[in-house]
Symmetry: C2
Subunit: 279 residues, 2 copies
């Protein structure tokens, strides 16, 4: 993806050195201005209002699954997905200099990071875990408050940039730990190399609706890459389906599949076509 | 479902008066002995070890979606689903007697309950929310510690049983708020009135595998009720699929569909056939 504008502003959730910021620099290069946001919803509004040119949002971790909150937020927003990137996530146990592992009574981190280190934390049952709003922010917190009985779980970069000490390296349960991020922008942009499209839909109440909705792709030899269901708020046990397929909306067979899908859906939104990140 | 044994022991996650315990009494009647467990994993092991006759586990909320942790735990366990029940969840803001809404600086509750009251909490931005391990336990906590600037979000029953005060009623975003629970037991039991079956599988790496896996049901006029995907830990961007369909494993067409499905799956497990709860 070529960004023409000098130093585009990219909104991300968390404080500096969070995984989202690392992913943003991987995708755009270093010549960007990063805009920290308190919440994922704030990233969406920053892009929608035009305060930022792009936003970056984690959408899935290969161990813990989709970041469902971000899928849900796409329903309320008009932003488009214009890119995707993926980073390997290494989690480290980080504390103030001089602190030893035996001193630690509390571990702070984002719930996703705590979940990724479930086995390590289970091996230390005397330690209390407390969920915080991001990984790097937890490192900053225990530094600012000079907490000597606490540690944070975060990236190597966060330890380095806050001059903190890694007391146990790579504590994630499984080293194949990747997080995928979407790049969002206000206007839809489909680049020629786009090979993946994300949509969200809900179905009419007709027999075999789910099977029929997947048929529109199979009948046109379009590969399905992912399907995820989320509740339709206010209609118990009905769902929105988030679906990724191989292809982009400039291809006729994809446009035909979507037109066919509209016959059996009560709601359908194309979130964007973009170049997939691979692993 | 007829329970022959007198006072069966039913394991649930949380402290007494948690929604899971309320659901257990709705399903079994009052003549049960309830066994509080610290975590969902503990509910699974209590049943698997034979310490409890049954377990009850929340699996889905109609607003916030599946309780993914419990879906994941079924992979590691050999217990079976033998029943299902569903309750309407009303969330109330509960505090110590005499405390007024203006006094409150912190609200404690289970993350799912906080999520269900997102709009209410957003309308009070000066209040900090802290995730706790269950709803009723939060009420007990603020009572035991006599916290006068804190409130908990929990059921009416929890307020009543701990002699605490409801200071704002029904603060959930959407009144159509239901939670579904599975009843689990050590041995599989299929009752004659079972009308629903849950399975989990992963697919061989063949073109159109997901479409083909749903075809085995469509070809036999078996209705799909739900599909959910979860990450296959250690194989980035591959998935387990949790699928519910209408029918039970004593029916020949269902057994045929499962045999057909085995041709295209690398892993398949029938979690159980049971009577569906309806709403």
């Amino acid at each position: 993806m070529t960004i023409s504008k000098n130093q585009p502003a990219v909104a991300f959730q968390g404080t500096h050195y969070a995984f989202s910021e690392i992913a943003a620099r991987q995708f755009f290069g270093s010549e960007i201005q990063t805009v920290p946001c308190r919440s994922f919803a704030d990233v969406f509004s920053s892009v929608q209002n035009g305060d930022s040119d792009f936003g970056i949002l984690p959408v899935e971790n290969s161990l813990t699954g989709s970041i469902y909150q971000n899928l849900d937020l796409f329903l309320e927003s008009t932003v488009s997905i214009t890119g995707e990137t993926s980073i390997r996530v290494e989690q480290h146990l980080i504390a103030n200099p001089g602190v030893k592992i035996a001193d630690i009574k509390i571990v702070y981190s984002h719930p996703q990071a705590l979940e990724q280190c479930r086995n390590f934390l289970a091996s230390m049952p005397h330690i209390e875990t407390i969920a915080s709003y991001d990984t790097a922010g937890s490192v900053k917190d225990i530094r600012d408050k000079q907490m000597l009985h606490a540690a944070a779980i975060a990236s190597r970069q966060a330890a380095k940039d806050y001059n903190m000490q890694i007391i146990r390296e790579e504590i994630e349960d499984i080293p194949e730990n990747y997080t995928r991020f979407y790049i969002i922008s206000k206007a839809a942009q489909t680049f020629n190399n786009a090979d993946k499209t994300s949509i969200v839909f809900s179905m009419k109440n007709i027999p075999g609706a789910l099977f029929k909705s997947l048929s529109v792709f199979a009948l046109r030899d379009i590969d399905l890459l992912k399907i995820e269901s989320r509740p339709l708020r206010g209609k118990p046990w009905e769902y929105f389906f988030y679906l990724d397929f191989a292809g982009n909306m400039q291809e006729e067979r994809c446009r035909n599949a979507i037109r066919h899908l509209e016959e059996i859906t009560s709601f359908l939104k194309v979130l964007g076509s973009y170049k997939s990140a691979g692993e």
